[in-house]
Protein backbone atom coordinates (compact mmCIF):
# COMPACT_ATOMS: atom_id res chain seq x y z
CA UNK A 1 0.00 0.00 0.00
CA UNK A 2 1.74 3.21 -1.12
CA UNK A 3 2.07 6.03 1.39
CA UNK A 4 1.51 9.52 -0.03
CA UNK A 5 3.61 12.49 1.06
CA UNK A 6 0.44 14.37 2.10
CA UNK A 7 -0.27 11.68 4.70
CA UNK A 8 2.97 12.25 6.63
CA UNK A 9 2.05 15.52 8.34
CA UNK A 10 -1.68 14.69 8.44
CA UNK A 11 -0.98 11.65 10.65
CA UNK A 12 1.37 13.49 12.98
CA UNK A 13 -1.19 13.49 15.81
CA UNK A 14 -0.38 9.78 16.27
CA UNK A 15 3.03 10.89 17.60
CA UNK A 16 3.54 12.91 20.81
CA UNK A 17 3.79 16.71 20.37
CA UNK A 18 7.21 17.80 19.13
CA UNK A 19 9.03 19.53 22.04
CA UNK A 20 8.83 23.27 21.32
CA UNK A 21 11.82 23.90 23.63
CA UNK A 22 14.15 22.37 21.00
CA UNK A 23 13.27 24.87 18.27
CA UNK A 24 13.36 27.71 20.82
CA UNK A 25 16.85 26.67 21.98
CA UNK A 26 18.05 26.56 18.37
CA UNK A 27 16.72 30.10 17.91
CA UNK A 28 18.68 31.48 20.89
CA UNK A 29 22.04 29.83 20.15
CA UNK A 30 23.83 33.04 19.29
CA UNK A 31 22.65 34.88 22.38
CA UNK A 32 24.04 33.30 25.56
CA UNK A 33 21.99 35.50 27.89
CA UNK A 34 18.74 34.68 26.09
CA UNK A 35 19.71 30.98 26.08
CA UNK A 36 20.30 31.04 29.86
CA UNK A 37 16.97 32.80 30.55
CA UNK A 38 15.16 30.31 28.34
CA UNK A 39 16.78 27.33 30.07
CA UNK A 40 15.98 28.68 33.55
CA UNK A 41 12.33 29.25 32.61
CA UNK A 42 12.12 25.79 31.13
CA UNK A 43 13.75 24.09 34.12
CA UNK A 44 11.33 25.80 36.51
CA UNK A 45 8.38 24.39 34.57
CA UNK A 46 9.71 20.87 33.96
CA UNK A 47 10.33 18.83 37.14
CA UNK A 48 11.56 15.77 35.22
CA UNK A 49 14.39 17.62 33.50
CA UNK A 50 15.19 19.52 36.73
CA UNK A 51 15.55 16.19 38.53
CA UNK A 52 17.94 14.96 35.85
CA UNK A 53 20.04 18.12 36.12
CA UNK A 54 20.26 17.64 39.92
CA UNK A 55 21.14 13.97 39.48
CA UNK A 56 23.93 14.78 36.99
CA UNK A 57 25.39 17.47 39.29
CA UNK A 58 25.31 15.21 42.35
CA UNK A 59 26.99 12.38 40.43
CA UNK A 60 29.73 14.83 39.48
CA UNK A 61 30.45 15.91 43.07
CA UNK A 62 29.78 12.65 44.90
CA UNK A 63 33.45 12.04 45.77
CA UNK A 64 34.22 15.67 46.60
CA UNK A 65 32.93 15.68 50.17
CA UNK A 66 30.51 18.49 49.29
CA UNK A 67 26.89 18.48 50.39
CA UNK A 68 24.50 17.12 47.74
CA UNK A 69 22.99 19.85 45.56
CA UNK A 70 19.29 20.49 46.13
CA UNK A 71 18.57 23.46 43.88
CA UNK A 72 18.71 23.78 40.12
CA UNK A 73 20.70 27.07 40.11
CA UNK A 74 23.66 25.48 41.92
CA UNK A 75 23.38 22.34 39.80
CA UNK A 76 23.60 24.44 36.62
CA UNK A 77 26.73 26.19 37.92
CA UNK A 78 28.43 22.82 38.61
CA UNK A 79 27.51 21.34 35.24
CA UNK A 80 28.06 24.38 33.03
CA UNK A 81 25.64 25.88 30.52
CA UNK A 82 26.68 23.61 27.63
CA UNK A 83 26.05 20.41 29.55
CA UNK A 84 22.67 21.65 30.83
CA UNK A 85 21.83 22.63 27.29
CA UNK A 86 22.63 19.10 26.06
CA UNK A 87 20.59 17.47 28.84
CA UNK A 88 17.52 19.61 28.03
CA UNK A 89 17.70 18.97 24.26
CA UNK A 90 18.47 15.23 24.63
CA UNK A 91 15.82 14.68 27.31
CA UNK A 92 13.13 16.52 25.36
CA UNK A 93 13.81 14.71 22.09
CA UNK A 94 14.32 11.30 23.67
CA UNK A 95 11.09 11.64 25.68
CA UNK A 96 9.39 12.44 22.37
CA UNK A 97 10.87 9.24 20.91
CA UNK A 98 10.16 7.08 23.99
CA UNK A 99 6.56 8.29 24.26
CA UNK A 100 6.06 6.99 20.72
CA UNK A 101 6.49 3.49 22.25
CA UNK A 102 9.59 2.64 20.25
CA UNK A 103 12.09 0.02 21.39
CA UNK A 104 14.88 0.94 23.82
CA UNK A 105 17.41 0.10 21.09
CA UNK A 106 15.86 2.80 18.88
CA UNK A 107 16.19 5.60 21.44
CA UNK A 108 19.64 4.46 22.55
CA UNK A 109 20.76 4.49 18.91
CA UNK A 110 19.31 8.01 18.51
CA UNK A 111 21.19 9.14 21.62
CA UNK A 112 24.49 7.61 20.47
CA UNK A 113 24.30 9.15 16.99
CA UNK A 114 23.36 12.55 18.49
CA UNK A 115 26.35 12.57 20.86
CA UNK A 116 28.76 11.27 18.20
CA UNK A 117 27.56 13.88 15.69
CA UNK A 118 28.13 16.56 18.33
CA UNK A 119 31.72 15.37 18.88
CA UNK A 120 32.38 15.20 15.11
CA UNK A 121 30.99 18.73 14.66
CA UNK A 122 33.94 19.89 16.78
CA UNK A 123 36.31 18.63 14.06
CA UNK A 124 34.64 20.65 11.28
CA UNK A 125 33.94 23.80 13.34
CA UNK A 126 30.28 22.95 12.92
CA UNK A 127 27.39 23.94 15.15
CA UNK A 128 27.34 21.33 17.96
CA UNK A 129 23.69 21.95 18.80
CA UNK A 130 22.54 21.44 15.22
CA UNK A 131 24.64 18.25 15.13
CA UNK A 132 23.08 16.95 18.37
CA UNK A 133 19.53 17.58 17.14
CA UNK A 134 20.20 16.15 13.64
CA UNK A 135 21.77 13.04 15.15
CA UNK A 136 18.99 12.54 17.69
CA UNK A 137 16.36 12.84 14.93
CA UNK A 138 18.20 11.05 12.10
CA UNK A 139 15.79 8.11 12.28
CA UNK A 140 12.57 9.99 12.97
CA UNK A 141 11.09 8.74 9.67
CA UNK A 142 11.43 5.15 10.93
CA UNK A 143 9.65 6.17 14.13
CA UNK A 144 6.75 7.61 12.08
CA UNK A 145 6.48 4.39 10.05
CA UNK A 146 6.49 2.23 13.22
CA UNK A 147 3.72 4.31 14.78
CA UNK A 148 1.54 5.10 11.75
CA UNK A 149 1.95 1.88 9.69
CA UNK A 150 3.13 -0.80 12.14
CA UNK A 151 1.99 -3.84 10.14
CA UNK A 152 3.21 -2.61 6.77
CA UNK A 153 6.55 -1.63 8.31
CA UNK A 154 6.95 -5.05 9.90
CA UNK A 155 6.54 -6.45 6.39
CA UNK A 156 9.28 -4.10 5.15
CA UNK A 157 11.67 -5.33 7.84
CA UNK A 158 10.92 -8.99 7.07
CA UNK A 159 11.41 -8.42 3.33
CA UNK A 160 14.66 -6.54 3.96
CA UNK A 161 16.03 -9.41 6.04
CA UNK A 162 14.96 -12.07 3.55
CA UNK A 163 16.44 -10.28 0.54
CA UNK A 164 19.43 -8.76 2.42
CA UNK A 165 18.65 -5.49 0.66
CA UNK A 166 19.06 -1.87 1.65
CA UNK A 167 16.40 -0.62 4.10
CA UNK A 168 15.49 2.60 2.26
CA UNK A 169 15.33 0.73 -1.06
CA UNK A 170 12.94 -1.86 0.43
CA UNK A 171 10.79 0.90 1.93
CA UNK A 172 10.51 2.60 -1.47
CA UNK A 173 9.67 -0.68 -3.20
CA UNK A 174 6.92 -1.66 -0.76
CA UNK A 175 5.61 1.68 0.51
CA UNK A 176 6.47 4.11 -2.30
CA UNK A 177 8.45 6.34 0.10
CA UNK A 178 11.45 5.87 2.42
CA UNK A 179 12.08 6.95 6.01
CA UNK A 180 14.57 9.61 4.82
CA UNK A 181 11.91 11.46 2.82
CA UNK A 182 9.46 11.09 5.72
CA UNK A 183 12.10 12.51 8.07
CA UNK A 184 12.62 15.45 5.72
CA UNK A 185 8.90 16.23 5.60
CA UNK A 186 8.59 16.05 9.40
CA UNK A 187 11.69 18.20 10.01
CA UNK A 188 10.40 20.83 7.59
CA UNK A 189 7.00 20.77 9.29
CA UNK A 190 8.70 21.40 12.66
CA UNK A 191 10.58 24.37 11.15
CA UNK A 192 13.99 22.92 11.94
CA UNK A 193 16.97 24.74 10.33
CA UNK A 194 17.76 23.80 6.72
CA UNK A 195 21.08 22.07 7.47
CA UNK A 196 19.33 19.74 9.96
CA UNK A 197 16.59 18.93 7.42
CA UNK A 198 19.26 18.21 4.81
CA UNK A 199 21.22 15.93 7.18
CA UNK A 200 18.13 13.92 8.23
CA UNK A 201 17.15 13.41 4.57
CA UNK A 202 20.59 12.71 3.09
CA UNK A 203 22.78 11.06 5.72
CA UNK A 204 22.55 7.56 4.17
CA UNK A 205 23.81 8.62 0.73
CA UNK A 206 26.13 11.64 1.01
CA UNK A 207 26.74 13.37 -2.36
CA UNK A 208 30.24 13.18 -3.89
CA UNK A 209 30.51 16.93 -4.48
CA UNK A 210 29.56 19.93 -2.35
CA UNK A 211 28.97 17.75 0.69
CA UNK A 212 27.29 19.84 3.44
CA UNK A 213 29.36 19.52 6.67
CA UNK A 214 26.41 18.55 8.90
CA UNK A 215 25.33 15.85 6.46
CA UNK A 216 28.89 14.44 6.47
CA UNK A 217 28.92 14.54 10.27
CA UNK A 218 25.60 12.68 10.69
CA UNK A 219 26.59 10.09 8.06
CA UNK A 220 29.84 9.38 9.91
CA UNK A 221 28.10 9.37 13.30
CA UNK A 222 25.81 6.55 12.12
CA UNK A 223 28.82 4.63 10.75
CA UNK A 224 30.94 5.10 13.89
CA UNK A 225 28.11 4.17 16.27
CA UNK A 226 27.56 0.96 14.29
CA UNK A 227 31.32 0.32 14.40
CA UNK A 228 31.36 0.81 18.18
CA UNK A 229 28.17 -1.22 18.74
CA UNK A 230 26.42 1.75 20.34
CA UNK A 231 24.09 0.15 21.22
CA UNK A 232 24.77 -3.51 20.46
CA UNK A 233 22.49 -4.98 17.79
CA UNK A 234 23.44 -8.49 16.58
CA UNK A 235 22.41 -7.79 12.97
CA UNK A 236 23.97 -4.31 12.78
CA UNK A 237 25.31 -3.44 9.33
CA UNK A 238 26.85 -0.53 7.44
CA UNK A 239 26.23 -0.54 3.68
CA UNK A 240 27.99 2.70 2.82
CA UNK A 241 31.01 4.41 4.34
CA UNK A 242 31.51 7.54 2.24
CA UNK A 243 35.24 8.46 2.12
CA UNK A 244 34.32 12.00 1.03
CA UNK A 245 32.65 12.43 4.44
CA UNK A 246 35.92 11.53 6.17
CA UNK A 247 37.82 13.94 3.91
CA UNK A 248 35.34 16.65 4.96
CA UNK A 249 36.67 16.33 8.55
CA UNK A 250 39.95 17.98 7.55
CA UNK A 251 43.52 16.75 7.17
CA UNK A 252 44.24 15.68 10.75
CA UNK A 253 41.05 13.71 11.45
CA UNK A 254 43.02 10.45 11.87
CA UNK A 255 45.01 11.94 14.77
CA UNK A 256 41.83 13.08 16.52
CA UNK A 257 39.81 9.89 15.97
CA UNK A 258 41.17 7.79 18.91
CA UNK A 259 40.20 10.45 21.46
CA UNK A 260 36.85 11.04 19.76
CA UNK A 261 35.93 7.34 19.91
CA UNK A 262 36.72 7.23 23.63
CA UNK A 263 34.75 10.41 24.35
CA UNK A 264 31.71 9.13 22.47
CA UNK A 265 31.68 5.89 24.48
CA UNK A 266 32.04 7.71 27.81
CA UNK A 267 29.36 10.29 26.99
CA UNK A 268 26.98 7.61 25.72
CA UNK A 269 27.37 5.53 28.91
CA UNK A 270 26.84 8.61 31.11
CA UNK A 271 23.86 9.96 29.19
CA UNK A 272 22.16 6.57 28.92
CA UNK A 273 22.33 6.20 32.71
CA UNK A 274 21.09 9.74 33.25
CA UNK A 275 18.21 9.54 30.78
CA UNK A 276 16.93 6.05 31.57
Amino acid sequence: MPIHAGEIVAKLQALPAFPAIVTRILETLNDERAALELLEQHLQSDPVISARILSAANRLIRHSGREPVGDVHTAVSYLGLNRVHDVVVSTSLLDFVKNSHCTSVFWERSLAVGLCAQELAGLVDGNPDHALVAGLLHGVGILWLHVCHPQEYQQVLIEQQLSASDLAQTERALLGIDHLEIGRLLAEHWDLPGDIVQAIAGHRTPPQDSLPPLLAVVHLATVICSGLDLPFQPDSEVRLLAPQALRALGEDWEDKMPDLLGRVEVRFAQSRTLLK
Partner: protein, 108 residues
Protein backbone atom coordinates in the same frame (compact mmCIF):
# COMPACT_ATOMS: atom_id res chain seq x y z
CA UNK B 1 53.24 -5.18 32.86
CA UNK B 2 51.74 -3.75 29.66
CA UNK B 3 49.49 -0.71 29.89
CA UNK B 4 46.50 0.55 27.92
CA UNK B 5 44.77 3.89 27.59
CA UNK B 6 41.27 4.30 29.00
CA UNK B 7 38.82 7.19 28.70
CA UNK B 8 37.06 7.85 32.02
CA UNK B 9 34.46 10.37 33.16
CA UNK B 10 35.55 12.57 36.14
CA UNK B 11 33.35 10.70 38.67
CA UNK B 12 35.13 7.46 37.73
CA UNK B 13 38.68 8.79 38.27
CA UNK B 14 40.76 7.77 41.31
CA UNK B 15 43.71 9.58 42.93
CA UNK B 16 46.95 7.94 41.75
CA UNK B 17 45.80 7.38 38.17
CA UNK B 18 48.29 8.58 35.51
CA UNK B 19 47.26 10.84 32.62
CA UNK B 20 47.92 9.19 29.25
CA UNK B 21 47.67 12.48 27.32
CA UNK B 22 48.15 16.13 28.20
CA UNK B 23 44.83 17.63 29.23
CA UNK B 24 43.64 21.07 28.16
CA UNK B 25 40.17 22.31 29.11
CA UNK B 26 38.74 25.21 27.14
CA UNK B 27 35.58 27.16 27.97
CA UNK B 28 34.27 29.96 25.73
CA UNK B 29 37.55 29.83 23.77
CA UNK B 30 39.68 30.36 26.90
CA UNK B 31 42.03 27.71 28.33
CA UNK B 32 40.84 27.19 31.91
CA UNK B 33 42.83 24.17 33.11
CA UNK B 34 45.83 22.13 31.94
CA UNK B 35 47.70 19.05 33.16
CA UNK B 36 50.72 17.39 31.47
CA UNK B 37 50.86 13.81 30.17
CA UNK B 38 52.19 11.47 32.87
CA UNK B 39 50.72 13.58 35.69
CA UNK B 40 49.57 11.55 38.71
CA UNK B 41 46.04 12.62 39.62
CA UNK B 42 45.27 13.88 43.13
CA UNK B 43 41.91 14.35 44.80
CA UNK B 44 42.33 18.10 44.30
CA UNK B 45 42.78 17.51 40.54
CA UNK B 46 39.54 15.54 40.56
CA UNK B 47 37.67 18.47 42.12
CA UNK B 48 39.25 20.87 39.65
CA UNK B 49 38.32 18.69 36.68
CA UNK B 50 34.72 18.52 37.88
CA UNK B 51 34.47 22.25 38.50
CA UNK B 52 35.93 22.99 35.03
CA UNK B 53 33.29 20.73 33.46
CA UNK B 54 35.68 18.09 32.07
CA UNK B 55 33.80 15.49 30.05
CA UNK B 56 36.39 12.72 30.11
CA UNK B 57 40.07 12.11 30.74
CA UNK B 58 42.54 9.64 29.19
CA UNK B 59 44.41 7.63 31.82
CA UNK B 60 47.05 4.91 31.57
CA UNK B 61 46.04 1.62 33.19
CA UNK B 62 47.68 -1.76 33.61
CA UNK B 63 46.61 -4.30 31.01
CA UNK B 64 46.37 -7.66 32.81
CA UNK B 65 45.89 -9.63 29.55
CA UNK B 66 48.58 -11.98 28.25
CA UNK B 67 49.88 -11.50 24.68
CA UNK B 68 47.76 -14.47 23.57
CA UNK B 69 44.63 -12.94 25.14
CA UNK B 70 45.34 -9.59 23.47
CA UNK B 71 45.72 -11.30 20.12
CA UNK B 72 42.50 -13.26 20.62
CA UNK B 73 40.65 -10.04 21.55
CA UNK B 74 41.94 -8.30 18.42
CA UNK B 75 40.85 -11.21 16.21
CA UNK B 76 37.39 -11.27 17.77
CA UNK B 77 36.97 -7.50 17.28
CA UNK B 78 38.22 -7.70 13.68
CA UNK B 79 35.63 -10.41 13.01
CA UNK B 80 32.85 -8.29 14.46
CA UNK B 81 33.86 -5.26 12.35
CA UNK B 82 34.06 -7.45 9.24
CA UNK B 83 30.49 -8.58 9.93
CA UNK B 84 29.18 -5.03 10.46
CA UNK B 85 30.87 -3.69 7.31
CA UNK B 86 30.31 -6.83 5.16
CA UNK B 87 28.32 -4.91 2.51
CA UNK B 88 30.44 -1.74 2.48
CA UNK B 89 33.16 -0.82 -0.02
CA UNK B 90 36.21 -0.15 2.17
CA UNK B 91 38.75 0.23 -0.64
CA UNK B 92 39.38 3.97 -0.10
CA UNK B 93 42.40 4.68 2.15
CA UNK B 94 40.25 6.94 4.35
CA UNK B 95 37.76 4.12 4.94
CA UNK B 96 40.56 1.72 5.84
CA UNK B 97 41.97 4.29 8.27
CA UNK B 98 38.62 4.59 10.06
CA UNK B 99 38.21 0.82 10.31
CA UNK B 100 41.74 0.58 11.71
CA UNK B 101 40.97 3.26 14.33
CA UNK B 102 37.80 1.38 15.31
CA UNK B 103 39.73 -1.88 15.57
CA UNK B 104 42.49 -0.38 17.73
CA UNK B 105 39.89 1.22 20.01
CA UNK B 106 37.81 -1.93 20.36
CA UNK B 107 40.85 -4.14 20.98
CA UNK B 108 42.46 -1.93 23.64
Amino acid sequence: MATRTRHLAPPDLQPGMVLAQALTLVEHGVVTYTLPAGHVLTQENQHQLASHHAVCVQVEQEDPRTDAQREADALRQAGRLKMIFRHADLSAPESQALIQALLVHRSA
